[in-house]
Amino acid sequence: MPDDLKNVIVFTLAGVRSAAELRWVREVISLGFVTSVPTAPPGIAGAFNLRGHLVPVLDIAALARAGHGASPRQGDSALLVEIDGVSAALRVDKVEEVATLPAADAGAVLDGRGRPVPLIDPAALVRQAIADANAVRGDDDDAPAQPTPRDPTTGARVRLAFDGDTTLG
C-alpha cells in the first residue's frame, strides 16, 4: 500500500466523525456493565469485564482535553485497543465503517467524498490516561499529598499471584 493510504475505522463521537488507524484496534465491542471508578481522572470513565479480564473504559474527549464525553453504559460501542500490552476500551457513539482512505494533512484522512476526517491516536490517548492516573497518585512515594500518596500496592497485605491476579493476604 502506498504511504498515503491508511487502514482506518471510522466512527462518530458527539456528532463528529473521527477515524482511528486499524493497527491499534483489536476489535469493536459492545460494552458490558460499566463500573464507575471513583477518584479516577476524568479520562478513565469506568471499567468492565471483558471475557474475565478487567478492561478500563476511556473517555476520548476528556483525554484530548476537549470536555467530557457521555458516561459509558452497557451496550455502548467501543474500540478495544491494545498499546504496549495495555488494553483499554475507547467509547464511541457509532462505528461507521472500516476503510482504506488517503491521508490528508494534519492528522486526518479523506473520506469517499473527499471530506477530511480527523484521526485520533489511540496510543497517545492510552499513554495520556496512564499519565493522568499516575498524577492522581503523585509521582514520588514520599510527597505529602492527600489522600495518601504512598504506593497503593506496597505493603504486606497485597500479595501478587501471577498471570494477572492479585490476592489480598
Binding site: P38, L54, A133, R137, D141, P149, P152, A156, L160
Partner: protein
C-alpha cells in the same frame, strides 16, 4: 489405642494436627488405590500388591494417630486384596467396583471426623461393603443384605457386565490413570507456605517498581544537570575564567558518569524483572496439579450417577496431564459433576431409545482437558439427545421470558445459552424444556467467580458439549462486600473485624472502648450524579490494619464472600484507593478497597510500620535423629516424640532419601520403618551397617510386620530395638533408654 493414651503422647493440638496430616495423606493414598483399581492392568499382581502396600501404610498411620475404625477397615480391605494376591479369588469387575466403593466409603468416614455419629454410620456402611469380600472382626460383621452385595447388571445375552464401563475404557483410553506417578516421591508442602513465598515474591515486584521509578527520576535529574551545565558553559563563554572553566569541565565529566550509571542501573532493573518473572512462574507451577485426580473424581461421580439412574454410560478421558492450579481444580469439581449428572439424567437416552435412533446402546461421555495459552479448556461432550431448540424457543416465549420477536431472531446458540439463566434452568422446567439444565445458573456463576467462562452447544439428537475456559491459576480470597451509591465494593475479610451501625453525623465512633475515626465511604467514593445525604443511621464495617482501626460507613452491607482477585492493570493500579478488583457472579467488575489507603485517609500523616517478627528460639539439643517412614503422619508423630526428648530430628520418606542424608550428616539415632518404596528398611540398615561411618549408629525399627524372622534379621544387623506399630511414646522410650539414662 484409646484416646487417653494418645493424649499422654501428644498435646490435643498436636494430635489434631497429626490427624489432619493423616487425613491429607489418606486422601492421597485412597486416590492411588482407586486409580489402581480402575486403571489398566488393575488385576495384575503388581497392581494388587501396590494397593495392599498403600492400604497397609495407611493402616499403620491410622493406628499411630489412634483412629481405630480406620485401622479395622483398612485391615479388612488389605485382607480382601490379599485373597486376590493369594489366588483365592479372581479379580473381577465387580470386585474392582467394590474396592472403589469401599475406598469412597473410607474417605467419607475419614472426612466425617467432626461428627462421630455420622462417622460411625459411615464406618458401618463400609463394613457392609466389605462383608462379602473380607473377614471382619467378630461382632462387626453386618447381617448379609441382598442390597449390599456387589451390584451387577445383566446384558441382553445374559453376560454379567459392569454397570458403568468407566473402568475398562478409562484404562483403554488412558493407560496412565494407573498412577505410574508415585506420589511418595513428591514433596508435600502446605499451600500456605507457597502462598507466603508468592507473597514475598509479589512484594519484591513492588520493590522493583519503586526502584525503577527512582531510576527514571535519576535520569531526569541527570538530564537537568546537563542542561544547567550547558547554561553555565554559555555564561562562561564570555567570561574567560580558566578556573571556572575547569570546574565546568569536572561537572561535565560527572554528568556523563551519572548518565552512564543510571543507564546501567536501568539495565540491571531489567535483569531483575526477568529473574522475578522466572521466580513467579516457578512458584505458580508449584501450585499446579494435573487433571488426573479431578478426572478420577469425575469417574466416581459418573459411576454413582449411572448406578442411580440405571443408565449405561462409558467415560472417555483425554488430557490427564494438563496442569492447573489446585484451587481452580477444587472449585471446578462440583460444577463439572453437576454437568455430568445432568448428562446422565437427561442427556443420555435409555438403551432401547438409543438403539432405535441408530446409536450404540451405551452412551459415551468424553471429558478432555487441554492448555491454551493462559487458559485451561475443559470439554464435556455427551452423545445423548441434545437440546430441543425448537421446543425451548417456544417455551421461552410461553413462559414470558422472551418476546416472540426476540425468540424469532435469536440464533440456536443464544437459545441454548438461555439455559444458563436463573429460573430457566429450575428443576421443574428442565425436563419439559429440553431435559437439561439443573442448576446451570449456579454452574455458570461458580465458573465466572473463578474468572472463567462456560459455553454450551447442542445438536438435537446428537448430543451436547460444554466448553469451560478456566484460568490456569487463580487467587481466591475472602472479602466483605458492601454497597455504596449502588455499586458493590469489597474489603479483604482479614482486615474487617466487625459490622456495626453508626450515626452518619459522627466523626468518631466507640469501638472496643476506644473512639476511632469514621470514614464516610459515600463521600470518598462519590460518583458523578450520586445523591448526597443518606439516612441518619448507617451500616458500617470496622477495619483493622497495622494497629489502626477505623469505621467505614456504607449504604448497605452485603456480607462475606469468596472472591477471585484480579489485577487492576497500569491504568487503574496507580489509584491509591484500590487494591484490586473482582468479577461478580453476574459478570460485573467490583472494586476492592485497600485497607492501607483507608487507614491513611483516617490517620493523615501516620507512617505504617509492620510489626517485628520474633526470632524463633532453638531448643537445646541432645543429639540428631533421623526418622524414616513413608507415612508423613507417622514421621511427624515420631518427630514430635523425639523432639520432646530434646532430639533434633530430620525425616526421610524412604530408604534412598535416608541413605542420602546419612551420607551427608552424622546421626546419633536412626528410626526406620521396614516397608517403604524404592529402598526398604532392612536394605537400608544393611547399607548403613556396611558403611564405616554408620556401622555403629543406634537403629530402631518401627514396623507393623514383626515376625520372628524380622526379629532374627534385626538382631543380626545389630538393631537396638524393634517397635510394633502403632508407635506410642512409652514404647519408643523403653527401647531408646532401655539401658538407663
Amino acid at each position: 489405642m484409646a484416646e487417653r493414651d494418645l493424649l499422654a503422647d501428644f498435646d490435643p493440638d498436636e494430635l489434631a494436627m497429626l490427624r489432619q496430616l493423616f487425613r491429607d495423606e489418606a486422601h492421597e493414598a485412597l486416590e492411588q488405590v482407586t486409580a489402581r483399581a480402575q486403571g489398566a492392568g488393575a488385576g495384575s499382581l503388581e497392581a494388587v500388591l501396590e494397593m495392599m502396600r498403600t492400604t497397609h501404610t495407611l493402616k499403620g498411620a491410622a493406628g499411630t494417630v489412634g483412629l481405630d475404625a480406620v485401622v479395622e477397615l483398612t485391615h479388612a480391605l488389605e485382607g480382601a486384596l490379599a485373597a486376590v494376591r493369594n489366588g483365592q479369588r479372581p479379580w473381577t469387575p465387580a470386585f474392582a467396583d467394590a474396592v472403589v466403593e469401599i475406598v469412597d466409603g473410607l474417605r467419607a468416614h475419614i472426612d466425617a471426623h467432626a461428627d462421630p455419629a455420622v462417622a460411625a454410620a459411615l464406618a458401618n456402611r463400609v463394613r457392609e461393603l466389605l462383608a462379602p469380600w473380607a473377614e471382619l472382626p467378630r461382632g462387626r460383621r453386618p447381617p448379609r443384605d441382598d442390597d449390599t452385595g456387589p451390584t451387577r447388571a445383566l446384558d441382553g445375552d445374559g453376560t454379567v457386565v459392569d454397570e458403568v464401563d468407566a473402568t475398562a475404557t478409562g484404562g483403554v483410553t488412558n493407560p496412565d490413570l494407573s498412577g505410574s506417578h508415585d506420589a511418595r516421591t513428591l514433596l508435600r508442602v502446605e499451600p500456605e507456605r507457597v502462598d507466603e513465598l508468592m507473597s514475598a515474591a509479589g512484594e519484591l515486584l513492588f520493590d522493583r517498581n519503586r526502584i525503577e521509578r527512582r531510576v527514571q527520576l535519576l535520569r531526569t535529574l541527570t538530564r537537568d544537570l546537563g542542561r544547567v551545565r550547558q547554561e553555565l558553559r554559555d555564561q562562561l563563554a564570555g567570561a574567560g575564567s580558566p578556573a571556572l572553566g575547569a570546574i565546568e569541565g569536572q561537572i561535565a565529566t560527572l554528568s556523563t558518569q551519572l548518565a552512564q550509571t543510571s543507564a546501567a542501573l536501568l539495565d540491571e532493573t531489567e535483569a531483575m524483572r526477568r529473574t522475578l518473572g522466572d521466580l513467579q512462574r516457578g512458584l505458580t507451577r508449584v501450585r499446579m496439579q494435573t487433571a488426573r485426580a479431578l478426572f478420577a473424581q469425575l469417574a466416581r461421580a459418573l459411576r454413582a450417577a449411572s448406578r442411580a439412574t440405571g443408565a449405561k454410560v462409558e467415560l472417555r478421558t483425554r488430557g490427564e496431564d494438563t496442569e492447573f492450579d489446585k484451587t481452580v481444580a477444587e472449585k471446578v469439581t462440583d460444577p463439572l459433576i453437576q454437568i455430568l449428572r445432568n448428562a446422565v439424567a437427561h442427556g443420555i437416552e435409555p438403551p432401547a431409545e438409543r438403539v432405535l435412533r441408530g446409536k450404540a446402546a451405551t452412551g459415551v461421555i468424553q471429558i478432555a482437558a487441554r492448555a491454551e495459552g493462559n487458559l485451561v479448556v475443559v470439554e464435556i461432550a455427551d452423545d445423548g439427545r441434545g437440546v430441543d431448540v425448537k421446543k425451548l424457543r417456544e417455551r421461552l416465549v410461553e413462559r414470558g421470558r422472551w418476546t416472540a420477536a426476540r425468540a424469532a431472531l435469536a440464533s440456536d446458540d443464544e437459545v441454548v445459552a438461555a439455559l444458563f439463566d436463573p429460573g430457566v434452568s429450575s428443576r421443574d422446567e428442565a425436563d419439559e424444556l429440553a431435559g437439561r439444565g439443573v442448576g446451570l445458573d449456579l454452574v455458570r456463576e461458580t465458573i465466572a467467580r473463578l474468572g472463567g467462562e462456560i459455553r454450551m452447544s447442542s445438536t438435537p439428537g446428537k448430543g451436547t458439549t460444554f466448553t469451560l475456559r478456566l484460568p490456569v491459576s487463580t487467587a481466591v480470597t475472602h472479602a466483605m462486600l458492601f454497597k455504596v451509591h449502588g455499586q458493590v465494593y469489597a474489603l479483604p475479610n482479614a482486615q474487617v473485624i466487625d459490622v456495626i451501625t453508626v450515626d452518619a453525623a459522627s466523626a468518631t465512633w466507640p469501638v472496643g472502648g476506644e473512639r476511632v475515626p469514621v470514614v464516610e465511604l459515600s463521600r470518598l467514593l462519590a460518583t458523578p450524579g450520586a445523591t448526597g445525604d443518606g439516612p441518619a443511621r448507617r451500616p458500617a464495617v470496622v477495619v483493622a490494619y497495622a494497629d489502626k482501626r477505623l469505621v467505614c460507613s456504607v449504604d448497605k452491607v452485603i456480607g462475606p464472600r469468596e472472591i477471585v482477585v484480579k489485577q487492576l492493570g497500569p491504568l487503574l493500579a496507580p489509584l491509591p484507593l484500590y487494591a484490586g478488583a473482582t468479577i461478580s457472579g453476574s459478570g460485573k467488575v467490583q472494586l476492592i478497597l485497600d485497607p492501607a489507603a483507608l487507614v491513611r485517609t483516617a490517620y493523615p500523616g501516620h507512617t505504617l510500620t509492620d510489626p517485628a517478627i520474633a526470632e524463633p528460639v532453638r531448643a537445646s539439643l541432645s543429639g540428631r535423629a533421623l526418622v524414616v517412614d513413608d507415612s508423613r503422619a507417622i514421621r511427624e508423630a515420631l518427630m514430635s516424640m523425639l523432639a520432646r526428648e530434646g532430639w533434633i530430628v530430620d525425616t526421610a520418606e524412604d530408604g534412598v532419601r535416608a541413605w542420602g542424608l546419612a551420607q551427608e550428616l552424622h546421626y546419633d539415632l536412626i528410626v526406620t520403618d521396614l516397608e517403604m518404596p524404592r529402598l526398604g528398611g532392612l536394605e537400608l540398615i544393611g547399607k548403613l551397617r556396611a558403611d564405616r561411618r554408620t556401622a555403629q549408629t543406634p537403629i530402631v525399627i518401627v514396623s507393623s510386620r514383626v515376625s520372628p524372622e524380622h526379629r532374627r534379621r534385626a538382631r543380626e544387623l545389630g538393631v537396638r530395638g524393634l517397635i510394633a506399630k502403632p508407635v506410642t511414646r512409652r514404647k519408643l522410650l523403653e527401647v531408646l533408654y532401655a539401658d538407663g539414662r
